[in-house]
């Protein structure tokens, strides 16, 4: 009947399309597990890196931190970088990771905790490709997977202590996305540091249940200010809403993940910047020597993967600068612990 006819025609068209595609398809056609077998040309001695991330590479937050780090790596060595960002759908990211692996990249960076599960399936299929997965601690016992994570609570602790000192009303507000992962680590560390420095400080935390809703972040920050907070901090991409409020109200801001001075040149005190390049350099050096991974790397204050970058235009009391240095010293030497696991 009619439906059958329509069916047949469309299927025929599909078949034709598929045939056409295979005829002029590129070499991605049948490279199951053919990784690194010289399928694609490498341009000279460039180290080929691919980054897959869940949000935009210029989000002044999570994804930007890895992209900036790779850029910094590129200042010291010859690299080629390809990026697939904005892949918050895990299955799509898995497809991209697999695609880069099939194309024989030297290092494929899966910059998203949620990517671990598919990576566990993909990595064994490409034993000659090095993978880096963050933020995570697990390497699945695989030789070609390195994991990287960050003790964001360490720098947060120091910043929290500074916040406690700067705050006159002794009321601090923290705007967070959802209480998981890196965000939770940062928030908990910040609160711990503030309270440790001054137990009388009231630290209020608002998880707005979204990573993108800028207006909600604005309102959270506004509510904090209305309720008496005079120092603010926060984490994740929507934080630009909160920094906007901070700028408007003249409230000091502490940033994390990337240097957030540009978001509020007058009010940003300091940012905890993730220098993933420490980790990347290690991994790349290893790859060039034939070691494709298997280790877990962590950014800490000690290995200077975490650096507190102060805003030069913010007039910070020298005593506070000293306090910061002291606390960093303490954490590095182990005499101070943040208390966060």
């Amino acid at each position: 009947m009619k439906n059958k006819n329509k069916f047949v025609v469309l299927l025929a068209l599909l078949a034709a399309l598929a045939l056409l595609a295979s005829a002029c398809g590129s070499d991605n056609g049948d490279s199951d597990g053919d990784a690194g077998s010289g399928d694609t040309e490498s341009s000279g001695d460039s180290f080929r890196i691919a980054i897959v991330s869940p949000s935009a590479k210029n989000d002044v937050a999570f994804s930007q931190s890895i992209f900036d780090a790779v850029t910094r790596v590129g200042e010291n060595r010859s690299i080629e970088v390809d990026v697939s960002d904005g892949l918050f759908v895990v299955e799509d990211a898995a497809a991209a990771i697999r695609g880069y692996a099939e194309d024989g990249y030297d290092l494929v960076i899966a910059h998203g905790s949620q990517y671990g599960a598919p990576l566990q399936e993909i990595a064994p299929e490409f034993p000659e490709v090095a993978f880096a997965w963050g933020t995570a601690l697990d390497t699945f016992g695989l030789d070609n997977v390195s994991s990287y994570s960050v003790r964001s609570d360490e720098g947060a602790y120091v910043l929290g202590a500074l916040a406690a000192e700067i705050s006159e009303s002794k009321n601090i507000g923290i705007v967070g996305p959802i209480e998981v992962g890196d965000a939770k680590l940062y928030v908990d560390g910040f609160a711990a540091g503030a309270v440790a420095q001054d137990p009388s400080v009231d630290v209020n935390i608002n998880y707005i249940e979204s990573f993108a809703d800028v207006q909600l972040a604005q309102e959270a920050a506004t509510a904090f200010v209305n309720n008496g907070a005079d120092v603010l901090t926060g984490t994740a991409q929507m934080v630009v809403g909160a920094t906007g409020v901070a700028s408007a109200e003249g409230v000091p801001w502490f940033g994390t993940q990337s240097n957030q001075t540009t978001l509020g040149p007058d009010i940003v005190v300091a940012s905890q910047v993730y220098h993933w390049e420490i980790v990347l350099e290690d991994i790349i050096a290893g790859v060039e020597n034939g070691d494709l991974g298997g280790e877990s790397h962590i950014l800490t204050l000690e290995n200077e993967g975490l650096v507190l970058e102060f805003n030069e235009d913010y007039a910070l009391d020298p005593s506070l600068q000293e306090l910061a240095d002291e606390l960093v010293e303490g954490i590095v030497s182990g005499t101070i612990t943040t208390g966060i696991e």
Binding site: V9, L87, V90, E91, V180, S210
Partner: protein, 374 residues
């Protein structure tokens, strides 16, 4: 909207000529090409070679065994949602709640897998499909009941149900369902192997879910066109007032339509969990990170398939190919993935916009055929 489309769809089903069907397929394809032409301007503006990009898209979607597998896997949730949408729209109900219904099915089936992991696979898998269908059905029946018995417009209620489901998922994945570990990610633990959807022989990632989707499409067709339930649903869709006068239970039909529609989406949710590479329910980054916006794309797919469950099979395959190919295109020419999303939108607009042209062409072709025959 639904009356228009379903009326047209029904009249299409009654038309007798293959030539018009050929036209019917060509016009949308031409629309896709036109959309691609617009996309080429974007690509060029962003420093990419459009030809290289589209070649990558086509080959990434259809260029080989593993690509087609990936496309079929991508098409699976689209197909399922589209079948459900076809049923709902033909019953006169606009279901925009696919996203939430997918989540409801995913959550319920995951809960089952978490609670009784020891169940042998041959028992567990059907149970999971049922759980997915049940979760989705409930999530659809609620707006259905609200519409039928409280006069609440279903566009509103389904949009709200989507929001509620997304937050509920986030809630579960912060507490009860979240995997234990030092770094907390919004995902469950690796679910029991008994719940893994078996891979189809010879294929790297093609799993049973795709077959189940096709089965649901066939069942959906049978229900809609070969059962009294389907006749009733379509009658209510065509003319609820006349149906009521004829004594048909209109309210019940509305609930049933949305429940069936939700069930299809719910099955998609279950398949997405147990067919995924990670074999978990992953909600990190938001609900649409899990659903892949299949709740919306499924609506588009349903329309491309003329609201006919069987036609949703090729429609989802093509749409899935475009989505899969889009990732490959992004990788190859290194444009921001936002461009691919925008391109998807342009394609949808162009194809949808071309339907009238298609109809006009079909009518004209048919008229000329009749003239020749006469």
């Amino acid at each position: 909207m639904t009356k228009e489309v379903s009326a047209e769809a029904d009249s299409n089903d009654a038309r007798p000529w293959i030539g018009s069907w050929l036209m019917g397929a060509v016009v949308p394809l031409a629309a896709v090409l036109a959309a691609f032409a617009v996309g080429a301007i974007f690509l060029a503006a962003f420093g990419a070679n459009p030809l290289e990009g589209y070649a990558a898209m086509v080959s990434g979607g259809f260029g080989g065994g593993s690509e087609i597998s990936a496309t079929l896997v991508k098409a699976m949730p689209l197909m399922l949602v589209a079948v459900g949408i076809s049923i709902a729209f033909r019953a006169g109900v606009i279901n925009i709640g696919g996203e939430g219904q997918i989540l409801a099915g995913a959550i319920l089936s995951t809960a089952v897998a978490l609670i009784i992991p020891g169940t042998p696979r041959v028992v567990l898998l059907p149970l999971l499909v049922v759980a997915g269908a049940l979760g989705g059905a409930i999530w659809g029946a609620i707006p259905g009941g609200l519409k039928a018995y409280a006069g609440v417009n279903e566009i509103l209620s389904t949009i709200m149900m989507n929001i509620i489901a997304a937050h509920f998922l986030s809630f579960l994945l912060q507490g009860w369902m979240i995997e234990d570990g030092p770094i907390k990610i919004q995902q469950t633990e690796r679910l029991t192997e008994n719940s893994d959807l078996p891979l189809l022989p010879g294929a790297s990632r093609l799993h049973l879910g795709v077959l189940i989707a096709v089965l649901v499409a066939v069942v959906g067709y049978v229900i809609l066109f070969r059962t009294t339930l389907g006749v009733r649903l379509r009658a209510v869709g065509h003319n609820p007032h006349a149906s009521r006068y004829a004594g048909m239970p209109v309210e019940r039909s509305i609930v049933q339509a949305l429940a069936l529609s939700g069930a299809c989406a719910g099955i998609a949710g279950a398949m997405l969990v147990f067919g995924s590479e990670s074999h978990r329910l992953v909600g990190e980054g938001g609900a649409s990170a899990f659903t892949q916006s299949a709740g919306f794309n499924g609506i588009v797919t349903a329309l491309f398939g003329g609201l006919h469950p069987l036609w949703s099979i090729p429609a989802s395959f093509l749409f899935g190919g475009m989505l899969t190919g889009g990732i490959e295109m992004q990788r190859t020419v290194q444009v921001p993935s936002a461009l691919i999303i925008a391109l998807n939108g342009v394609v949808v607009v162009f194809v949808v916009g071309s339907f009238r042209l298609k109809r006009m062409l079909e009518v004209r072709v048919e008229q000329s055929a009749k003239a020749k025959g006469a």
